[in-house]
């Protein structure tokens, strides 16, 4: 395992298994008959050319789409149907390709929103904002401050996120996902549109999250350098079909992958 600082990450058993999953929108096949697994503690990349079905795959894992065929097993539990907030409850967090933040709220409130599920005090106490609800708010605020420190966004915590530059918005979005303390973190192009320095920062955060919290990460990314550096194993999709699966080195040498990216002479 590639562990920064030399720490040993235990990659365990299968956390999530996707078996023969197919998804079509009308006549358009977004994903057809794809199977792969995600092991506990690894960084798993999903790559492929545009329109390969990567985001659809993420949406299926996260419950935004229901596949027409196939099974998904998460933490040993096979599900037929799952809605996004159920996925969140079971420990799947995600970020979106085109940042989906609560634009009118501050960075702090956005990240606090990530703790929604972990706050349990009822409406009555919340209305009074007193007693247990107050203590709860303070406790969670403390955790959120830790995340803010970790992501080095202290100076923007009171800024409405709509005003932040793109790179920072992505960071806040990652913060919100981390606030959920997920077991499985789905990142949809976390580095899209970033400059080199921002990419390096983001890579560092992803590795740290994986390293320190043992969070399993699924990553969609176009920057091959990043993918090869970060990920433990890579799935390659093309036109909704899985064409390769293996370590970065194996995938890099795979003829089907090279053809998919560069095109083939017919």
């Amino acid at each position: 395992m590639k562990a920064p600082g030399g720490a040993d990450i235990a990659v365990g058993g299968v956390l999530l298994a996707v078996e023969n999953v197919s998804l079509a929108f009308g006549g358009v096949k977004a994903v057809s008959d794809v199977s792969f697994d995600i092991r506990k503690g690894e960084i798993r990349a999903i790559i492929g050319p545009n329109g390969a079905g990567k985001t659809s795959m993420l949406n299926i894992i996260n419950g935004f789409y229901q596949p027409q065929h196939g099974r998904i097993t998460f933490k040993g539990e096979t599900r037929s149907k799952m809605r996004p907030h159920d996925a969140a409850k079971r420990g799947i967090a995600r970020t979106f390709q085109n940042v989906a933040l609560f634009r009118g709220m501050t960075s702090l409130d956005n990240i606090m929103a990530g703790r929604t599920l972990r706050m349990t005090k009822n409406l009555f106490w919340q209305l009074l904002r007193f007693g247990p609800a107050m203590a709860e708010e303070v406790e969670h605020r403390h955790r959120v401050e830790e995340i803010i420190d970790f992501l080095k966004i202290q100076e923007i915590r009171r800024t409405p996120v709509g005003r932040l530059p793109y790179g920072l918005q992505k960071r806040v979005e990652l913060g919100r996902a981390l606030a959920m303390e997920p077991e499985l973190l789905l990142l949809d192009e976390p580095m899209a549109g970033m400059n080199l320095e921002e990419k390096e920062d983001m890579s560092r955060f992803i590795l740290d999250v994986n390293d320190h919290f043992g969070t399993t990460v699924v990553l969609i990314e176009h920057d091959m350098g990043v993918v090869m550096d970060l990920s433990d194993r890579v799935v390659v999709l093309d036109h909704g079909v899985k064409i390769a699966d293996g370590t970065p080195d194996e995938v890099k040498g795979n003829q089907a992958v090279i053809d998919a990216y560069l095109g083939v002479a017919h």
Partner: protein, 318 residues
């Protein structure tokens, strides 16, 4: 020249020469404003959380008021009836979510807006079926709402303050403070704002849209109930009361659709503006100034601040 004098100068001379009348007019405007604020508040709650302009807020006021009075007529003690009405409003919120919002999730806002029209006409029909079409008297004294008035000597005349109006102002203030706190500082309040901003992001952090919608519609139902009681206590509870919903429009335009303080300030400006206009300028233009002045005030406002006084300015990075 003469007309200009009557419009621009004479009313102010009148104000100066009879300050007691001026204060009385201002007070009545303030009270009307408080009630407008209340209605607008119901709209703001639902708009904030779902981006839907709930046309049915007006009829919800009537429905809540009629349920309360109707239950009391059946012999239920006043405060038990109040509790039951709250339960009914919760039931309404639950059914609206289940039968109306859930099937229409991810539809454009205009579709949901039209659905609230449908809800309005359903509630009118259903309400008339259950409670009959006759106006009813609000059970104000049974709920220990004060009646009568304080007469205060002021500048040679006297100003009369209705106790019920004072009670309305106090209750509304408390409710607004509670709601503002709730929205800004609690988990559910944050979840409400989150849903308003982005459905998919809210879902991804585990916020259940269903639950949030029930909570907002219930909150709007409670606001409707309080409005029904207060407005009903000043006149009576009847279906004609639902047109006050239209009075909320200029208030919302003025205050901004997403701002609770905006609803309050907007309500007060419209209320006071309307009463002053009616009393001092009304005779010049014939009566009926009350029915359109609010809209004119709102229109003038729109020219200068399209997002309203406190509305969220749309922030967009380009």
């Amino acid at each position: 020249m003469d007309l200009a004098y009557k419009i621009l100068i004479d009313p102010f001379i009148q104000m100066g020469s009879a300050p007691d009348l001026l204060v009385q007019t201002l007070w009545e405007g303030l009270v009307a404003g408080v009630l407008y604020s209340l209605i607008a508040l119901g709209f703001v709650l639902i708009f904030k959380a779902s981006g839907v302009f709930n046309f049915a807020q007006g009829i919800m006021v009537v429905f809540a008021g009629l349920t309360l009075v109707g239950l009391h007529e059946l012999g239920v003690p006043a405060f038990v009836a109040l509790g039951l009405t709250i339960v009914v409003m919760f039931g309404l919120a639950f059914l609206v979510e289940r039968l109306m919002l859930r099937p229409l999730v991810n539809q454009p806002d205009i579709i949901l807006f039209m659905a609230t029209f449908g809800l309005t006409y359903f509630l009118i029909g259903f309400g008339e079926l259950v409670f009959g079409g006759n106006p009813k008297k609000m059970i104000a004294s049974e709920l220990y709402l004060p009646s009568g008035a304080y007469d205060i000597n002021f500048a040679g005349g006297f100003v009369s303050l209705q106790k019920i109006d004072i009670a309305a102002a106090v209750i509304v203030s408390l409710m607004v403070i509670a709601l503002a706190f709730f929205f800004q500082k609690t988990r559910i309040g944050r979840a409400l704002r989150a849903v308003a901003d982005s459905h998919k992001a809210a879902l991804s952090v585990g916020i259940s849209l269903e639950q949030i919608w029930v909570v907002v519609w219930f909150a709007a139902g409670i606001v409707a109930l309080v409005t029904g009681i207060m407005w009903g206590a000043r006149s009576e509870v009847s279906f004609s009361l639902q047109i006050i919903a239209l009075k909320a429009l200029p208030v919302l335009i003025l205050g901004g659709f997403t701002s609770i303080p905006g609803a309050i300030v907007g309500g007060l400006i419209i209320g006071i503006g309307e009463k002053l206009g009616e009393f001092y300028w009304g005779p010049l233009l014939g009566s009926g100034i009350e029915s359109w002045l609010a809209y004119v005030i709102a229109l003038i406002f729109l020219l200068f601040r399209p997002q309203g006084l406190f509305g969220e300015k749309i922030i967009e990075r380009i």
